[in-house]
Symmetry: C2
Subunit: 278 residues, 2 copies
């Protein structure tokens, strides 16, 4: 039982809230029962240590049964120790080895619905998009090298475990992302308020094809393999990012709202693609 | 020019961050250029005072031209004064009279797409749903009496001005909300992971009707006037809330995600209804 909140071990875990320490040690944190549960289920090989209070172990037995089955060691720790490690642990925290995957590590050719975060800086937004991408059944999420650090604890928390459900790649330049997608024939849609195509029109033109009629060739095929580019919270997509896309698409704004939160826009777009591709 | 960050006026404004002071004074805050701009445009009569730094007035002339046209007085204030009023003002803050509207104040009979927040407690979630409802062209947002205070500055900020674009009502018991909707013939859909109907199936069954064929009567009509019930972040909809709905509907989860963030779910549902009703 770990009881000293001032131990070197506690200091090490706490330090992983900082990007520099995560990079130096090649590790990151997963805080709270939901995130740790999904990490244990879907990424057990990445887990280095799990710390939990006795109360948390009794409250969520499924997590710790799965951990035992995966032969993962769980350190029992006092509530003081867990609180010293993180203010957001809710009684359980895991330290994981970070795996910095590149585009070459995933099978792009089989991907049909991809989310690309271009310079998305807010941790909550990035995590929420990853969670929405998971729910929409997207195959892959890519964060450009200008986006927030995927291993930021707030990003990890906001994904609610979804970052362990589908491949998430980060640190790639947008030009390289676009080139990789193009090589395997995935069209790129830039999500932007000033888009040339209305998302509703794209969805309308999918219908006839599925019923056997001729597709409307005047609009891009929403059912074809698609990667969505989503832009920065304040500036949107840059000229460079827009120029890398095949088509620019706008989410219909029916009320008086002048723009959408990036996570809201991503939800609408990724669900539209998965519906078109059913 | 206001220059004393310790004046009673500054203290009064700052105090409006607390719910009790907002209630006592019948006032609330709108922080930042985007929120103040929309308040000036769409709710000028509610505005009591606007405070801004000289730099902000020069940077966003449109806001202050609109304010002058609406005969609103703008207090110039030093950056120290604005910072003392709020850490989130970005140079401009407005004090508004709160109008606690009830169901009787809106024309429910003409509403076709309504969002109802049942016990939604997180300010960011509530604000994001209001913004998404605005974008989707919803007619009305209702917050149950167990939900977060709509005049909480973080809710106001998260709406990005959308709370001035469509009627937002708060503090009504869910039973009363349901009764009001039922009186005017608006069907209630409970958004829940265990819903009896799949949202995609509902959308599929809208198509034939629009083409003149007979509607599929085995599923509820997604194009009919609809109010969506969205539940608490942790617990979802309660048994009482579920029992008040006509149908329970699930957003399709195509990946491994076990649930959706309430704002993400609301986005998918409200956009689905607005698409079905086009």
């Amino acid at each position: 039982m770990l009881e000293n909140p001032r131990s070197d071990r506690v200091k090490h875990v706490r330090a992983l809230h900082a990007r520099s320490a995560r990079k130096r040690h090649g590790q990151y944190l997963v805080e709270g029962p939901q995130g740790v549960r999904e990490a244990v289920r879907y990424a057990p090989d990445d887990i280095r240590d799990i710390y939990a209070t006795t109360e948390t172990m009794e409250r969520y037995p499924d997590i710790f049964e799965d951990a035992a089955e995966a032969r993962l060691w769980v350190h029992q720790a006092s509530p003081d120790v867990i609180s010293a490690m993180s203010g957001d642990a809710q009684g359980v925290i895991a330290v994981l080895h970070r795996k910095d995957r590149t585009l070459a590590d995933v099978d792009l050719s089989s991907a049909r619905n991809v989310a690309v975060l271009c310079c998305v800086r807010d941790p909550g937004n990035a995590g929420t998009v990853i969670r929405a991408a998971d729910a929409a059944g997207a195959d892959l999420v890519i964060l450009s090298d200008e986006s927030v650090d995927i291993f930021n604890p707030k990003v990890v928390r906001s994904t609610a475990g979804s970052m362990f459900h589908l491949p998430v790649i980060s640190g790639v330049a947008v030009e390289e992302i676009a080139a990789g997608l193009r090589t395997v024939g995935i069209q790129i849609f830039a999500a932007t308020g000033s888009g040339a195509y209305d998302l509703d029109d794209l969805l309308d033109s999918v219908g006839p094809t599925r019923n056997g009629a001729v597709a409307d060739k005047s609009t891009p095929d929403a059912a074809a393999p698609t990667a969505w580019f989503f832009g920065n919270e304040a500036q949107g997509l840059s000229q460079v990012e827009l120029s890398l896309a095949d088509y620019s698409v706008r989410v219909p704004l029916r009320g008086r709202a002048e723009s959408l939160n990036v996570a809201t826009a991503a939800t609408v777009c990724l669900y539209a693609t998965s519906r078109a591709q059913r």
